[in-house]
């Protein structure tokens, strides 16, 4: 069916799009190691995050589950007894913030037992809180999620944790409620998110494309749209300034999640994904790009 468009046009676009997606999937999987994981960059050892994001990209692009099996087998070896997930098998206590990303993978692939343990760990994890500081216009008494247990909460680990909880039907949990308050509190008043504080001494900090896109994805359907509109408008209005693969991917993911037009960004992203030099290809960001170009939602229900 062509929905009233020129006969054959849509079929042609779909076919071209499918073959492009298949080529991107093959390029992504060319980074797989024999044990099943993927590294951040060619020549490195397998690491948790690029493997998680690659697994999610395979899910998003509709690749057969068989193709993800080696990745999932390796991912499962990263889970510790307490449900946390580490950066690599050699450094078991490190990179525990990655548990949230792992939970998203476990959710989409139906790995219920792994998911339950990961969520239990996430629900037990709180960032350190302190009294409010007049230099910072933010509520330091709210707990988000930290990069490293025993430290402060930051935008990115909090947003990943919220996505994991929301997808798993845990949005009503007190930790999720407080996490959303934390994330909304860290918004830059004129739009977007920095990596942590929205301002310092009344001076707004710069919004980052990656944390802004991620935070918007985490809050979709879970916060008053009026509170998010300045951030969406910011991404939309300044989209021509976004140049990196990571930034473009998050901009597309966030705009599409809210039903906004990301057509120009998608074109630029597709072109960029065909071009990065092999030595500069960040596998995690490439996988994010693939997710952005796919139609299936990965980070929102």
């Amino acid at each position: 069916m062509t929905l009233g468009l020129t006969p054959g046009y849509n079929d042609d676009v779909m076919e071209r799009s499918a073959s492009e997606t298949a080529a991107l999937v093959e390029r992504l999987l060319s980074f797989s190691s024999p044990e099943g994981g993927l590294p951040y960059y060619r020549g490195n050892s397998s690491s948790a995050e690029p493997t998680f994001l690659a697994a999610l990209a395979l899910f998003a692009s509709g690749a057969p589950t068989e193709r993800a099996k080696p990745l999932l087998s390796w991912v499962k070896t990263l889970q510790n007894l307490d449900g946390s997930v580490c950066v690599n098998p050699g450094h078991r206590g490190q990179g525990l913030w990655l548990t949230a990303q792992a939970a998203i993978v476990f959710h989409h692939y139906g790995l219920k037992e792994n998911l339950k343990r990961a969520l239990d760990f996430l629900l037990s994890l709180r960032s350190v809180t302190v009294a409010n500081d007049p230099r910072l216009r933010q509520d330091n008494t709210l707990a988000g999620w930290p990069w490293v247990p025993g430290t402060f909460g930051w935008v990115e680990p909090t947003a990943w944790s919220l996505i994991a909880l929301h997808l798993s039907g845990q949005a009503g949990r007190p930790r999720a409620v407080e996490g959303r308050k934390f994330l909304l509190d860290r918004r830059i008043p004129s739009g977007g998110w920095n990596y942590g504080n929205p301002s310092l001494d009344d001076k707004e900090l710069l919004p980052f494309w990656d944390t802004t896109g991620l935070a918007l994805a985490a809050l979709r359907g879970q916060a008053d749209i009026d509170r998010l509109r300045p951030s969406l408008d910011l991404v939309e209005k300044r989209q021509d300034k976004i140049e990196s693969l990571c930034g473009l991917a998050w901009a597309v993911i966030s705009l599409q999640a809210y039903g906004r037009d990301a057509g120009r960004l998608r074109t630029r992203l597709r072109n960029l994904m065909g071009s990065p030099a092999e030595e500069d290809l960040h596998v995690g960001n490439f996988a994010l790009g693939l997710m952005a170009l796919s139609q299936k939602r990965v980070f929102t229900a």
Binding site: S45, S47, P89, H91, P146, W154, Y195, G196, C246
Partner: protein
């Protein structure tokens, strides 16, 4: 950590000069510090830098060299980062001196996206094709026993390219710092630790005390050479929100504390009043003015008075030159 992984890391470290642990590194003579005029970023100073490094006895022939600039944050209007022209001059100086491999690597403290850091096209575009750029935030790391005792961290997870380098060159920007008074070569070592392990920012190091973490890293990670970008520094609310402060010089030395102490004096601070520099003086040479011999231009030509937050005004001193 499993024993097998520990042994793997230990084998790597045996080959790495960069992580030999610092004890009493006291030179027989005063520490040389060279001030190289660089009024703006339009000149290629690779020849001059090579001459100074060679004169300081730095042997690079056949070596793997890692340049560690500071790309903590990206802001078009603020001089936050080590300028790419300085990085290019230093990288090309290393090639002139026969380095087998030259790598520019950074684990940016605020920016996760490597496009804003070591993989920015503007840096790649100015460098000789033989120079590699690596994102130290994302990639392999090795665990290295903490040679200090102040932070309480048993080990540091150091980016593998740093651990595997024969020569490590610290290349910070000359800046004030709203918590530490100044940020220079020693503080720049935070950027050898991957964000995947420590986060953005490396909040764990803050929790353990920034000064403690700096001092432990200074004992653990050996820096072979230091080049401070003081062409345009940052004063006021550094290291991110401050203002440009032109000084017009590069500060070069094999000794990180000597470079830092000299840069601090050029900025109008007394390094002996800056707690972490004072503490570093207990195990690194070059804190006191009489421990340093300044070569190149006369320092009075570059001496400045960097504006700083109120709480650090008591750390000012001089005139030193």
């Amino acid at each position: 950590m499993k024993r097998r992984q520990f042994l793997k890391d230990a084998t790597l470290l045996t080959n790495a000069v960069a992580l030999s642990g610092i004890t009493q590194n006291v030179p027989p003579e005063p520490c040389p510090v060279t001030l190289l005029p660089m009024p703006d970023y339009s000149r290629d100073l690779s020849r001059e830098i090579a001459a100074v490094m060679s004169g300081d006895g730095l042997q690079l022939k056949g070596k793997k060299v890692l340049l560690k600039p500071n790309f903590v944050e990206a802001h078009a209007e603020r001089p936050i980062n080590t300028h790419i022209a300085v990085i290019a001059s230093a990288a090309h100086a290393c090639l002139r001196l026969g380095a087998a491999e030259v790598i520019v690597g950074e684990a940016s403290g605020h920016r996760r996206d490597p496009w804003f850091s070591a993989l920015n096209p503007s840096l790649r575009g100015i460098l000789d094709k033989k120079v590699k750029c690596v994102d130290l935030n994302h990639g392999d790391a090795v665990s290295v026993p903490n040679a200090g005792r102040r932070s309480g961290l048993p080990v540091f997870y150091v980016a593998k390219p740093v651990a595997g380098a024969d020569i490590l060159i610290s290349m910070p920007k000359m800046k004030t710092h709203h918590w530490m008074a100044v940020t220079l070569c020693l503080k720049n070592l935070f950027g050898v630790l991957p964000g995947v392990y420590y986060g953005w920012p490396k909040n764990l190091l803050h929790f353990r005390g920034i000064d403690n973490s700096i001092l432990d890293l200074a004992r653990t990670v050996k820096v072979h050479y230091n080049i401070i970008d003081g062409v345009v520094g940052m004063e006021g609310d550094g290291p991110i929100m401050g203002k440009a402060k032109p000084v017009g010089a590069l500060v070069l030395s094999p000794f990180p504390l000597a470079a830092d102490a000299t840069a601090a004096r050029l900025m109008g601070f007394d390094p002996q009043r800056i707690p972490y520099l004072f503490q570093a003086g207990r195990f690194l040479p070059g804190l006191k003015q009489q421990d340093v011999v300044i070569r190149g231009e006369k320092p009075a030509r570059f001496a400045a008075q960097f504006d700083c937050p109120e709480e650090f005004r008591g750390m000012r001193g001089g005139p030193f030159f």
